[in-house]
Amino acid sequence: MSELTKLTISKALKALKEKEFSCLELAKAHIEQMEKYKKLNAYITETCDIALSQAKIADQNYSKNQERKLEGIPVAVKDLFCTKGVLTTSGSKMLSNFVPTYESTVSENIKNQGTIMLGKTNMDEFAMGSSNLSSYFGHVINPWKASDSSENLVPGGSSGGSSAAVSGFLAMAALGSDTGGSVRQPASYTGIVGMKPTYGRCSRWGMIAFASSLDQAGILTRNVEDAALMLESMMGFDAKDSTSLDVPVPNLMPACSKSIKGMRIGVPYDLMKLDGIDGDIIKMWQDTIDAMKAEGAEIIDITLENAKYSLPTYYVIAPAEASSNLARYDGIRYGLRPEGSEININELYELTRSNGFGDEVKRRIMIGTYVLSASFIDAYYLKAQRMRRLIYNDFNQAFTKVDVILIPTAPTSAFAMDDKQDDPVTMYLNDIFTIPASLAGLPCISVPAALSTNMLPLGMQVIGQALDEYNTLRVGAAIERLFSHVNFIPRGF
């Protein structure tokens, strides 16, 4: 493999400026790697021609000393960001023919800073999943394998194509989206960094909707500094999204080298007692706490009393919003449309939706329709919204005493493709540590912090206060420094 693909974004930008290699060479090195590891199935659509032509423009900008902030950096884009003129499927048969006529704000923002698009990454259908097993375009394979098995592992989800691409050096960074953990959990499963900023920081315009009150764009990179650099370009107010926050974008890079001495780090020790958490995860959690103490941080025991209800709360709210959002897929204006002239309008709707959606999406639409139906809206939907406020209040209460909260990203390491497929509830338990911050709309980052006993990467999660991406990254970078002796490159890569 070309060493060019192994560079960090900061180092690549410096080398491009000093003409050590060209943007075209950097793009070609990544395209070769994509070719070599096609079997990972990380990309639904490869856009090599676009990448090469963008690389040529980037090289011209460097030669004129007019380079932009991310000029020439090859990135991947999750296939739910609408990209003008490029197939955008959201991992679904329903949109297998959809070519947007407009660009999402987030992908536009990074393009305007000079990134090069290598392709659109695979994902769980409509971002519903934690394994990438629900994509219409086939499973994504995790570049990692356990030391005691040759089985293929899932890359996490729903941004599983993005995590596999970044972990396997098929892109320097990848856009993802996080509704209940879809950036952080795949980052944890593949030994990379995944960050979701505060809800409202990134515009949702042009991002195919799953659950609108939770959906937020995020970034997957191989180190914390790269995540900070990318986020500075992705975030920002957008009048086209009514939930976009009209606040200035902070300068995040200095956070990555700042000491955590004197910081107050909250640990909800009661969550360590939840069922189903691997011993390796508990050990990583404890080791991280000890290492932070040694760095001069103050560890404070906090209680998130209602966090244990996050899972049922989320699995009412997210499907409810999804059932409403996905009502638009009716076969009339775009997307799949069944053939046959002898059908009436209701048959057209039913045929479109029954053929166009996969099992997981249908299941969530069914749950959403049920909890929103007249007889149950009070018992489930409004109840879940009340519980959401209690969870939100718990965080606010905790943040009167601490600067950030430290919990694992996922209860286990990446699992084999054949596991957990039959029982949706077992699958949903993967999200237990990521959902609370999603419900409260808080910034959070997953950083690799340990290897399991069978040599798979495990991620620690830092949750910050609303709009405090700075301290979230600061503690994330500290974790990265504390465990820099661990090798988080998948074997053979």
Binding site: N97, V99, T101, Y102, Y199, G200, S213, A239, S242, T243, L245, Y309, P312, T313, Y315, D330, G331, I332, R333, Y334, G335, R337, P338, E339, S341, I343, N344, I345, N346, E347, L348, Y349, E350, L351, R353, S354, K362, R363, I365, M366, I367, T369, Y370, V371, A379, Y380, K383, A384, Q385, R386, M387, R388, R389, Y392, D423, P424, V425, Y428, G441, A466
Partner: protein
């Protein structure tokens, strides 16, 4: 416990056409999922205001000015199926007959 009749009713509301086998499949799974969710019904939080969004949902106002001009061609660019070509020619979405 969710019955088959209820699954049928939800499927109809959600515009799905399921056969018997699918109805059974979703019934089993919905029962399992709802039993995980049912813990919520045991908690009394009736005095708590529901949280719809973590954002301030006030609508922003703007001047009434045209921001996008004629994008008619773009709107019809993604029509599919046997009438797609005609739809693009006449700039209309074509649907089955709705009124008898």
């Amino acid at each position: 416990m969710i019955t088959k009749d209820e699954v049928n009713k939800i499927a109809k509301l959600a515009k799905f056409n399921f056969d018997e086998k699918e109805i059974s499949h979703f019934q089993t799974q919905l029962v399992n999922i709802m039993s995980m969710i049912d813990v919520l019904t045991q908690i009394d939080c009736s005095k708590i205001e529901p949280l719809t969004s973590v954002c301030n949902m006030n609508q922003r106002m703007r001047e009434d000015v045209v921001t996008e001009s004629d994008i008619r061609q773009e709107l019809f660019a993604n029509t599919s199926g046997e009438n797609a070509k005609l739809a693009k020619e006449i700039n209309c979405f074509i649907v089955p007959k709705v009124v008898e």
